[in-house]
């Protein structure tokens, strides 16, 4: 019982961090072009560095 008292909040917190991170990715427009994202992994690193 005692373990639950801190394990459950920790689990929820960790999940919550994941949720917040996802919401941030949505906000910064990372899901606006899924086709482009799929193709961009084929581009060379030096290209994406230059284009940053």
């Amino acid at each position: 019982m005692g373990a639950l008292l801190f394990l459950i909040p920790i689990a929820l917190l960790l999940g919550g961090f994941g949720l917040l991170a996802f919401l941030w990715t949505v906000k910064s427009g990372q899901y606006d072009d899924l086709d482009g994202a799929a193709e961009r992994i084929l581009l060379d690193d030096e290209y994406s560095e230059r284009n940053r």
Binding site: M1, L4, I8, A11, L12, G15, G16, G18, L19, F22, L23, V26, K27, G29, Y31, D32, D33, L34, D35, G36, E39, R40, L42, L43, Y47, R50, N51
Partner: protein
């Protein structure tokens, strides 16, 4: 007559008007020193395109960022400094071979991106809540079997409640909003039972939690929302993609008008800015931007997309010209007779709007299901409540509990998924084949049609003349082709196509509206209309003809027809095999249409129709109870497309026809309508199966809920199982279609 001739160089293609740039810098967004330009890009499909375009632009030191969105084919460029740099940007992208059009993002992008992001936000919150609560609920359910202390159980349930309440407030918003709108509008849709279900689950669970009862269903509400939101998001993506493709088609066809000023200057203005009385220059091969009267120049106009007339029309000064016609032979100057809002095009748009209002919105299967479903379920819940109150002495609270359990068990999760899941899979499959659907319910309407009405020109036919009488000896054809290859005239091109290896002769002179002439050592060779070639008589068979005269040889006659597309016969037979009746509605001359229809074995033929007459005919059919699929690509078809039960246009069609149509088929592939119809019929069959499957789960479980035997665990299993069944069944609508034998 010689003065009208012009030496033709086959290498010179009509160029874009030189100062189109003027209109482009008007599209630049300014934010202090920062300038931003949005462009639609045609022909970008892969990583290499991203690299070429973005690489080319970022090599320019002024440009700070260039980003190509491959899903929407939109390019956003930001730079610092002069706003006229936009011209160089467009030039450098066009130089690598991509056609771009500037657009104003105010109109469309934001809505799409915003609603997509909102759905994703709701989806992620629902996913977080449902997975965490399910974890806690499983602990409670197993704990109940193994004597978990009641205090621990209630602690876990309180935590669930704390997660559920904010999650529902966020994730349920799209459903609550739509349900509220429906209720305020005095009708019901599928979101009404969803919203009622979610709210009643949550309220009842809270009450039970406070009362230390067993019926705590906190896991159900977020799971329900999670599953439905997955469907909504996928549906959104498929639709956004189709919509973006349609918008792109329309915007890429927008043309500027080259207006000749008094000082000899030529300004490119948007067609909407042209005023009556202005003189507009239209080069050979260009689309006429506005209605007008010819003041200078003789040419032939391809009006097939405007009026449905299949053969080019000769025009001379004084002749009226309609916007949308393609100038075939030589440059023309027109005086604009009307502003754009009083043009023929505007007239068509008004007819389209009228036809749309008179057609009214269609009631979709999902709405119909919701209309049957909601009253039944709520009726049964009410009966449960009164039944428990009357026949037992457990009290009103328990009775209410059982009534709400009925609502939860008859949970609309599977019903809510049944229709969109199939539409997503089916439209996604068609999208991959280049077939665009404006709305999901276009499939439903298509599946129930019983008549197909075709436009003739450009839809059933090629929309351009084809040489039908080939001369017997090869040398004659080669001579004619060597002259013809030097011209852009449709008839000349039809001749040249029959001998593609013949190079254009040097020194061909074109007499617009008359013919072509070539001086050789032996004398003059002429190719053109009868009077031009000195043929004194006319053969009375209404065929379009061109004559060839050579020194010392008999003259030769070439005749042309607008032939049916190669796949027209096949497409019509396939539709007939599905017991659909075929008719032709054409704006072309009656005898031409009749001959054409006979060729294809079509009995019901209506020729010489104006756009308004086409609407009348379709409305007459509707009053007879016919459900008509209208197919057409021309401007004159647009009102008929809007009036029909369901309609299809082509990517090569006039923009007005595309915005009026429900379905847009790939250019020059008429036979795809068979595929679309087959998959529509299959999609509707699967939707019906899905609704029955969802109902079966309810028929099995609702009686248990009425007598109070359902547990929260049972509800969770039933919901997941029914949603899964419905989704798996929906996947079948994406399978390849079986060949009909």
């Amino acid at each position: 007559m010689n003065a009208a001739g012009a030496l033709l160089d086959p290498q010179v293609l009509p160029q874009r008007p030189p100062d189109l740039q003027r209109s482009i810098s008007a599209f630049v967004e300014e934010d202090g020193d920062q300038k931003r330009l949005h462009l639609l890009v045609e022909g970008a499909y892969c990583a290499a395109c991203i690299q070429t375009i973005e690489g080319r632009l970022t090599a320019d030191p002024i440009i700070t960022e260039a980003r190509l969105n491959l899903t929407l084919r939109r390019l956003t460029v930001t730079w610092k400094g002069d706003r006229h740099h936009a011209n160089n940007i467009v030039e450098s992208v066009e130089a690598i071979g991509y056609h771009v059009t500037p657009f104003d993002p105010e109109h469309l992008t934001q809505v799409d991106l915003q609603s997509g992001r909102e759905l994703l936000r709701a989806l992620s919150v629902a996913a977080f809540a449902s997975s965490n609560i399910m974890m806690l609920s499983l602990a409670v359910w197993t704990g109940q079997m193994q004597d978990m202390a009641p205090a621990t159980q209630s602690l876990l349930q309180w935590i669930s409640a704390l997660v559920t309440l904010p999650a529902i407030a966020v994730a349920g918003r799209p459903f609550f909003r739509s349900a509220l709108r429906a209720i305020l509008g005095g009708h019901t849709n599928i979101d009404v039972p969803v919203a009622i279900g979610v709210l009643s689950i949550t309220v009842m669970s809270l009450v039970e939690l406070v009362r230390h009862g067993h019926d705590v269903y906190f896991d159900s509400a977020p799971t329900l929302l999670f599953v439905l939101l997955i469907g909504r998001y996928l549906d959104f993506r498929v639709r956004a993609r189709s919509r973006a493709a349609i918008e792109r088609l329309l915007m890429l066809k927008a043309h500027g008008a080259a207006v000749c000023r008094d000082d000899g200057h030529i300004d490119v203005l948007p067609a909407a800015a042209v005023e009556a009385g202005m003189i507009v220059l239209v080069k050979a091969g260009e689309r006429v931007p506005i209605d007008g009267i010819i003041t200078e120049g003789c040419s032939e106009l391809d009006v097939s997309i405007v009026t449905g007339e299949s053969l080019p029309v000769s025009v001379a000064p004084g002749a009226p010209v309609l916007a949308g016609s393609i100038n075939g032979a030589a440059a023309l100057r027109l005086q604009a007779t009307n502003t754009i809002d009083r043009s023929y095009l505007a007239e068509i748009v008004r007819l389209v709007e009228m036809a749309e209002t008179s057609r009214g919105p269609a009631v979709t299967i999902a709405d119909r299901a919701a209309r049957i479903w909601t009253p039944i379920v709520h009726g049964v819940a009410l009966l449960t409540f009164t039944g428990w109150c009357l026949f037992t002495n457990t009290g009103a609270v328990t009775a209410l509990l059982h009534a709400v359990t009925v609502l939860i068990i008859a949970c609309p999760c599977a019903i809510g998924l049944a229709v969109p899941a199939v539409q997503i899979v089916a439209t996604g499959m068609l999208l991959k084949q280049g077939i665009l659907l404006r709305s999901g319910d276009a499939l439903e309407r298509l599946a129930s049609v019983d008549h197909v009405a075709f436009d003739k020109t450009g839809t059933l036919s090629e929309g351009r003349p084809v040489l039908v009488s080939l001369p017997e000896d090869c040398e004659t054809l080669r001579t004619a082709a060597s002259l013809a290859a030097a011209s852009r005239h449709p008839l000349a091109q039809a001749i040249a196509q029959n001998a593609p290896d013949v190079p254009p002769a040097i020194g061909v002179i074109e007499f617009p509206g008359q013919g072509l002439s070539l001086l050789t050592a032996l004398g003059e060779i002429r190719l053109g209309r009868a009077s031009f070639c000195g043929v004194g008589y006319e053969i009375e068979d209404e065929a379009t003809e061109v004559w060839l005269t050579r020194p010392g040889q008999p003259r030769v006659r070439f005749t042309f027809e607008d032939l049916p597309r190669k796949d027209a016969r096949h497409a019509i037979e396939e539709l007939r095999a599905r017991s659909l009746k075929i008719a032709i509605l054409s704006g072309d001359r009656k005898p031409t249409v009749a001959r054409f229809a006979e060729n294809l074995n079509i009995d019901e033929v209506h020729g010489g129709l104006t756009p308004a007459e086409k609407i009348e005919l379709i409305e007459h059919w509707r009053s007879e109870g016919r459900r008509v699929l209208m197919m057409g690509d021309g401007l004159n078809d647009a009102p008929a497309l809007a009036a029909a039960f369901v309609s299809a246009s082509f990517t090569h069609g006039a923009p007005a026809s595309q915005s009026a149509a429900d379905i847009i088929l790939p250019s020059d592939r008429l036979e795809t309508i068979g595929v679309v119809h087959a998959s529509a019929v299959r999609a509707i069959r699967i939707i019906r199966q899905n609704l029955v499957l969802a109902a079966l789960y309810n028929i099995a479980l609702v009686p248990l809920a009425i007598i109070g035997l359902v547990t929260p665990l049972g509800a969770a299993i039933a919901m997941s199982a029914s949603s899964l069944t419905v989704t798996l069944n929906a996947l079948r609508s994406g399978l390849p279609l079986k060949e009909r034998r």
